[in-house]
C-alpha cells in the first residue's frame, strides 16, 4: 500500500469493530427484552406492532440512512447534537437497521415455546428474575440467531453508514465504506485488503457465536 493512502487497515478495522460492536450491543439490549415482551404479552395493537417489526426486518438501509440524516441534519430535530458525520450517527443508523431483526427473531423464538410455558414455569414455583433467566435459557438458540443476524446486517452495511458517517478518514471510515471508496478510485489492492479483513471478521465472529449457540446443554 502506498503512503498516500493515509489510514491503516488496522485502524479502520478497529473503528469498524467499535462502531458495530456498540450498535450490536444497543440493538440487543433494546431488542431482546422488547421481543420477549412482545412474544408473550397480549395487548391491543400488538398485531400491528408485530407487522411493523416484520416489515422493518426488510427495511432498505439506504432509507434508514436518509431518515437518520434528516433527523441529524443541522436543521433537523436532533441537529443540535452535532452528530452528523460522526461515529454516533453511524451507530444510530446501524441500530435502526438491526433492531427489527433482533426483535423479530426473538419474537419467533418465544413463539416456538409451548403455549402454556409461562403457566408451567409459574407452577414450578419459578418467579421474577429466575423466570426471566429461564425464558432466556429456553430461547437461547433463537436469541443467538438474532444476534448473528444483527451482526451480519450491521457489518455488511454500507449505504446508511456512508450517508450519515461521510467516510471521513480518521473519523468515520469503516471497512465497508473504505471498500466502496477504493473501488470507485480504482485502487483495487486496498479495496481487496479491506474486504479480506471484513470477510475474516464476519466469519470469526459468526463462528464464535455459532459455537456458543451449538454448545452442549447443561
Amino acid at each position: 500500500m502506498s503512503a498516500a493512502v493515509g489510514e491503516s487497515v488496522v485502524a479502520i478495522a478497529l473503528r469498524t469493530l467499535a462502531v458495530s460492536g456498540a450498535a450490536l450491543a444497543l440493538a440487543v439490549a433494546i431488542g431482546v427484552p422488547l421481543g420477549l415482551a412482545l412474544g408473550h404479552r397480549r395487548f391491543p395493537g400488538r398485531g400491528l406492532l408485530v407487522a411493523t417489526v416484520n416489515a422493518g426486518m426488510g427495511l432498505p438501509p439506504v432509507v434508514v440512512g436518509l431518515l437518520v440524516a434528516l433527523a441529524l441534519w443541522r436543521s433537523g430535530p436532533l441537529g443540535s447534537l452535532g452528530w452528523m458525520y460522526t461515529p454516533q450517527a453511524m451507530v444510530i443508523a446501524q441500530v435502526a437497521i438491526a433492531l427489527p431483526l433482533v426483535v423479530g427473531i426473538t419474537l419467533a423464538a418465544v413463539g416456538a415455546l409451548p403455549a402454556d410455558f409461562h403457566l408451567q414455569v409459574r407452577a414450578l414455583g419459578v418467579r421474577g428474575p429466575r423466570a426471566a433467566w429461564l425464558l432466556v435459557r429456553e430461547t437461547r438458540r433463537g436469541l443467538l440467531a438474532a444476534v448473528i443476524a444483527a451482526l451480519g446486517g450491521i457489518l455488511s452495511e454500507v449505504g446508511a453508514v456512508t450517508m450519515v458517517g461521510g467516510n471521513l478518514e480518521g473519523e468515520t471510515r469503516v471497512l465497508t465504506s473504505g471498500i466502496l471508496m477504493y473501488t470507485q478510485m480504482g485502487r483495487f489492492e486496498s479495496a481487496l485488503a479491506l474486504a479480506a479483513v471484513l470477510l475474516g471478521l464476519t466469519f470469526v465472529l459468526a463462528a464464535a457465536l455459532t459455537a456458543v449457540q451449538q454448545s452442549s446443554r447443561r
Partner: protein
C-alpha cells in the same frame, strides 16, 4: 373443613379463552390432608380449569380458594414442560426456584428421581426421554420439594397400558410414603378407582357429586354420573310398595320386580341402578335374593373379565364374571340361568332428582 389443605367456596372461574369450555361454578369442594381425590368428568367439563384454579394459576371471578399448604402445591400438567438440559436439572428446578444450594438440590433431586426409578437417567438430556420416562420425570419433579399437595392433570394419558399400570403402582407407593394430598383429574375411571379415596364428578362446569369412592360407585347422583362410574344397568321404574321386610318393591318392566334397600316413596317414578358386578348368576338356584329365570344373550371376554348380557323379562341386564374359571368359563349364549341381586345393591333414585 378443619383438615382441608385446599378448600374452594362459591367459586366461579372463567376458562382460559383459548381453552373454551364451561364456566366453572363450584359451591364447595375440599381436598383433605392425606387423601387422594379423583376429579372425574367428560372432556370439556372444566376439570383442567378447576385444577388450575386450585393451584392458583387461574384467577377466580368470584369466590375464594383457601390453601393450608406451608410446603407448597405442585401441579403436573397434562403435557409437562421439560426444560432444555439434563434430567437432573429438570428435577432440580423447583428447588432452584427456592434458592436452594446446588449440592443440596442435586442430592434431593436424585432422591426424587430414584423414587420414580429414573435415577440412572440423571445425566441424560431431558429431550431424549421416552413418553413414560418423561412422565416419571414430571412426577419426580413434583415430589422434589416435598409439597403438601400434588395436583395431577391426566397423569397417565399418553402411556401404553403396561407403562400405566407400573406408574400407577409407583405413584400409589409415593403417595402412601409421603402422605401427600392429591387431586387427580382424569376421564379414565380405572385410574381414578386405582388411586382415589374420594371421587368428585364434574359435569358442564358444576359438581354433580362428591363422595367416598364406593359411595359414588354404588350410589351415583344421576344418570350421567352412573354412566361415568360404570353403573351400566340403569332402568326406569316405579315404586310399588314395601314388602314384609320393609324393602321397596320396584317394577322395572311389566312383571319384573326388584327389591331395594334404598328408602323410597311408593307410587313414585324412579331410576334403578345396578352395577354389573352385582348381578349374580345363581348357579345352584338357592339365592334368597333371586330374580328368577333369565337367558344368556351375549357373552364377550377380554381374558380377565367376562361381560354377559342376560335377557330378563323385557330387559337386558349386564353382568361381570371373572374369566377362565367356573361360570365365567362355561357360560354361553342361549343358556338358561337364574340371577340374583341383593337389595342393598339396587340403587333407587327419584326420577325428578336434581343434581346435588
Amino acid at each position: 373443613m378443619d383438615d382441608a389443605v385446599i378448600a374452594a367456596d362459591d367459586l366461579v372461574v372463567q376458562p382460559a379463552a383459548r381453552a373454551g369450555g364451561f364456566t366453572l361454578r363450584i359451591r364447595e369442594l375440599a381436598l383433605r390432608r392425606g387423601e387422594v381425590l379423583a376429579i372425574l368428568g367428560p372432556n370439556g367439563a372444566g376439570k383442567t380449569t378447576l385444577l388450575r384454579a386450585l393451584a392458583g394459576l387461574a384467577l377466580p371471578r368470584e369466590g375464594a380458594i383457601t390453601v393450608h399448604a406451608p410446603r407448597g402445591v405442585a401441579l403436573v400438567f397434562q403435557h409437562p414442560l421439560l426444560l432444555a438440559g439434563s434430567v437432573l436439572w429438570n428435577a432440580e428446578v423447583p428447588l432452584w426456584a427456592r434458592g436452594i444450594a446446588r449440592r443440596e438440590r442435586s442430592r434431593r433431586a436424585r432422591k426424587a428421581l430414584a423414587r420414580f426409578g429414573i435415577d440412572a437417567l440423571a445425566e441424560r438430556d431431558a429431550t431424549t426421554l421416552s413418553g413414560g420416562e418423561a412422565r416419571r420425570l414430571a412426577l419426580a419433579r413434583a415430589f422434589v420439594a416435598e409439597p403438601d399437595v400434588l395436583l395431577l392433570d391426566e397423569p397417565f394419558d399418553d402411556l401404553d397400558v403396561p407403562g400405566r399400570e407400573v406408574l400407577v403402582q409407583d405413584l400409589a407407593t409415593a403417595i402412601r410414603e409421603t402422605g401427600i394430598a392429591v387431586a387427580l383429574v382424569t376421564h379414565d375411571l380405572r385410574q381414578a378407582l386405582l388411586l382415589a379415596d374420594r371421587i368428585a364428578v364434574l359435569s358442564a362446569g358444576t359438581l354433580a357429586q362428591v363422595g367416598a369412592r364406593d359411595d359414588v360407585l354404588r350410589r351415583p347422583a344421576n344418570a350421567e354420573v352412573a354412566a361415568l362410574v360404570g353403573m351400566s344397568n340403569w332402568l326406569p321404574g316405579r315404586v310399588h310398595a314395601r314388602d314384609a321386610a320393609g324393602l321397596a318393591v320396584v317394577e322395572v318392566s311389566p312383571g319384573a320386580l326388584l327389591r331395594s334397600a334404598t328408602p323410597c316413596v311408593p307410587g313414585t317414578d324412579v331410576w334403578v341402578g345396578i352395577r354389573p358386578e352385582h348381578v349374580k348368576i345363581d348357579a345352584d338356584r338357592s339365592d334368597p335374593n333371586t330374580l328368577g329365570a333369565a337367558t344368556v344373550e351375549t357373552r364377550v371376554s377380554d381374558g380377565a373379565l367376562v361381560v354377559a348380557w342376560i335377557a330378563w323379562h323385557a330387559l337386558r341386564l349386564r353382568t361381570h364374571l371373572l374369566a377362565g374359571r367356573g361360570l365365567g368359563h362355561t357360560l354361553k349364549p342361549g343358556d338358561g340361568v337364574f340371577i340374583a341381586v341383593r337389595p342393598e345393591d339396587v340403587h333407587v333414585l327419584p326420577r325428578d332428582a336434581a343434581p346435588i
